[in-house]
């Protein structure tokens, strides 16, 4: 198994002319867990919704998403429907609203089983019950008759996971799967995802705004900012020694359970997609910005094996996490994208 399972190349997404994703590349291998972190507006969710063609029609998507040798962005709609939920499944943030309130769990789970496994009647019930058992829902047979509002948020997310597993997918994309849940329930769901992955050798993309969640559950982590990947590295390396000033800033801004220290806030706000700054999108908030940073959007370059950084000064910076450095003022012409 040499080639990656899924490969995204040069993905761009724009809504009404405003770029949301500005050239993203990812490769995920079988059984691998890739974490994607970023703040709101970073394009972390949009990238994967675009890859599965789940965005509304007004979204303009360019690039290539290869699953084995098929380009998902070009296959016929029927083929795409077969692959969605079949080979690539996706679960979402708020399980209570991600399930249909007027349909039973049996109906919603059965739909996926009928579509991807060709089951019907009794065999749907049996398999649905097996899946609910697998995801740890007590009284699985009884729960089939329930509606989402009769179950807790954690249980609904388990149902979502069961639904995603119905088609035996090779890849599960989990978009903020625990954000809406309580801390102890969040731990249960993350644990369940790990268990499922061990048992099925399924690859996982875990999208989260929480660096802690991603660090503990993924092999590799990509950090996104303003529609681009700015750093990608093995999880341990990224948190021990971030190379991109934004990645470093995120870690510095995160409070820990250890002794409190002065948090280093990243000044300013995420840029407006319609008015992207010249050069590196992070430069207006960056403590290390230099004139070189205005000379074009920095490429995501491989600096060492398994590690990619998109920073014009990647080679020369020696970042010290938790360093307090004010942003540098540099002459900046106003640019409107």
């Amino acid at each position: 198994m040499a080639g990656p399972l899924i490969k995204i190349e040069g993905l761009r997404v724009a809504f009404d002319g405003a770029p949301a994703v500005r050239g993203v590349d990812f490769a995920i291998h079988r059984g691998e867990a890739l974490g994607i972190v970023g703040e709101s507006g970073s394009g972390k969710s949009v990238t994967w919704l675009a890859a599965l063609r789940l965005l509304p029609e007004k979204a303009v998507v360019e690039g290539r998403v290869s699953l084995d040798d098929e380009n998902l962005l070009e296959v016929p709609v029927e083929r795409m429907e077969h692959l969605r939920g079949g080979r690539v499944a996706m679960i979402f943030q708020d399980p209570a609203s991600a399930l249909n309130p007027v349909l039973t769990i049996r109906r919603q789970l059965g739909e996926a089983l009928a579509l991807h496994r060709g089951l019907s009647g009794r065999s749907i019930d049996a398999e649905a019950k097996r899946l609910l058992d697998l995801v740890g829902i007590p009284d699985a047979a009884g729960r089939l008759k329930s509606y989402p509002h009769e179950m807790s948020g954690g249980q609904n997310q388990r149902v979502m996971i069961a639904m995603a597993l119905a088609g035996n997918p090779d890849l599960l994309i989990a978009d903020e799967p625990t954000t809406a849940l309580d801390v102890t329930i969040q731990a249960q769901i993350l644990d369940l995802l790990q268990l499922v992955r061990r048992e099925t050798n399924m690859a996982l993309v875990l999208i989260s705004h929480d660096l802690g969640v991603v660090a503990e559950n993924c092999d590799r982590v990509a950090v996104m900012y303003a529609g681009r990947v700015i750093e990608e590295a093995p999880a341990r390396d990224l948190f021990d020694a971030p190379r991109h000033p934004y990645a470093c800033g995120l870690i510095d801004a995160l409070p820990t359970l250890d002794a409190p220290r002065r948090l280093v806030a990243i000044p300013g706000v995420v840029p407006d997609p319609r008015r992207m700054p010249q050069g590196c999108a992070f430069s207006p908030r960056c403590a290390h910005a230099a004139p070189a940073c205005l000379g074009g959007v920095p490429e995501l370059r491989r600096l060492e094996p398994g590690r990619r950084i998109a920073c014009a000064r990647a080679g020369e910076l020696d970042l010290q996490p938790a360093a307090v450095v004010p942003p540098v003022e540099i002459a900046r012409p106003e640019v409107t994208a």
Partner: protein, 310 residues
């Protein structure tokens, strides 16, 4: 579910009782029927006899309870004008009105719902805009204006359809269109916005992510949810059809209950007016009951009592 329905039934009965009381009070307040029916120059003895005959000389509370008891027995009094039973008078007009309102309701459902769903699925496209513009006009034009315009075009200019009366099914066409069009427009607009709201909800994306074809997502996931608010509007439309019948029947000289109401009011025929009011209230309450029942069927959250009464 049973408790939910029992609650609604109790409320319906209460509503009817309130309407009956209201009708009693308003009709007593609107002047002495004796002087209106017999005229201001009638001799006092005649008026006294009339009042005694109709029980109008007894204490108001006694009258009220008698009236209430009579209604419970199914006795709605007799017409002060021609002495026939009010129920009989109203009853013989009901088929004519049903012959307009039922086809009008079907017309509203058959046009409004598909047009609204289709417009929502093709939001911003030509058809959607056409539906929206038509709907605004259809909703804004008063029914008597629409009726006159239709008569002018199809009866006077083209001579295709009769302009009034109830001699053949041809006579029903223009009244039905007049009666149904406004509601169809309202229903189209409402269905469209209900669909758009549902299509934006996260579970639609979940259904697509499962690999369901779009048509199945719309049919299996969007429509059942959009039906919940739409049912409310249909209930409201039934009520407005009854009100619309008064105008339409007058314009097209259609011998239904609507026209009877106009005549009875101008004649101060109390028993008939009361009977008609009761009929209107009962049909509105019934349509609301049906709506509530459909709610329970469509929305499991109500069925389990989690939000009942809220």
């Amino acid at each position: 579910m049973i408790r939910y329905l029992a609650t609604r039934l109790l409320r319906a009965a209460l509503t009817i009782a309130l309407v009956v009381t209201f009708a009693f009070i308003v009709l007593r307040l609107s002047g002495d029927p004796a002087t209106i029916i017999l005229g201001p120059e009638a001799p006092p003895e005649a008026i006294e006899a009339f009042r005694h005959n109709w029980g109008l000389d007894r204490p108001v509370l006694v009258q009220y309870f008698d009236y209430f008891r009579a209604i419970l027995r199914g006795d709605l009094g007799i017409s002060m004008r021609d002495g026939r039973s009010a129920i009989e008078l109203v009853g013989e007009r009901i088929p004519a009105t049903l012959a307009l309102t039922i086809p009008a309701l079907l017309l509203q459902l058959a046009i409004g719902i598909p047009a609204g769903v289709y417009a929502a699925l093709h939001q911003g496209k030509g058809f959607d805009r056409a539906v929206m513009v038509t709907a605004v006009f259809g909703f804004a034009i008063p029914s008597f204006v629409l009726a006159l315009a239709l008569v002018l075009v199809f009866s006077v200019n083209l001579g295709w359809l009769p302009s009034g009366g109830r001699d053949s099914w041809m006579h029903a066409i223009l009244p039905i269109i007049t009666l149904g069009l406004g509601g169809a427009a309202a229903l189209a607009r409402f269905t469209r916005s209900a669909m758009l709201e549902v299509l934006g909800r996260p579970f639609i994306r979940t259904a697509s992510a499962k690999g369901l074809p779009w048509a199945a997502v719309v049919r299996g996931h969007a429509l059942p949810n959009a039906a919940i608010p739409t049912v409310t509007l249909v209930g409201f439309l039934v009520g407005s059809l009854i009100a619309g019948a008064v105008v339409v029947e007058s314009v097209f000289s259609w011998p239904g209950v609507g026209r009877l109401l106009v005549v009875a009011v101008s004649n101060r025929d109390l028993a008939v007016v009361q009977c008609l009011l009761l009929l209107v209230a009962a049909s509105m309450v019934t349509s609301n009951l049906i709506v509530d029942f459909l709610y329970g069927v469509l929305d499991p959250r109500l069925r389990h009592g989690a939000r009942a009464g809220a």
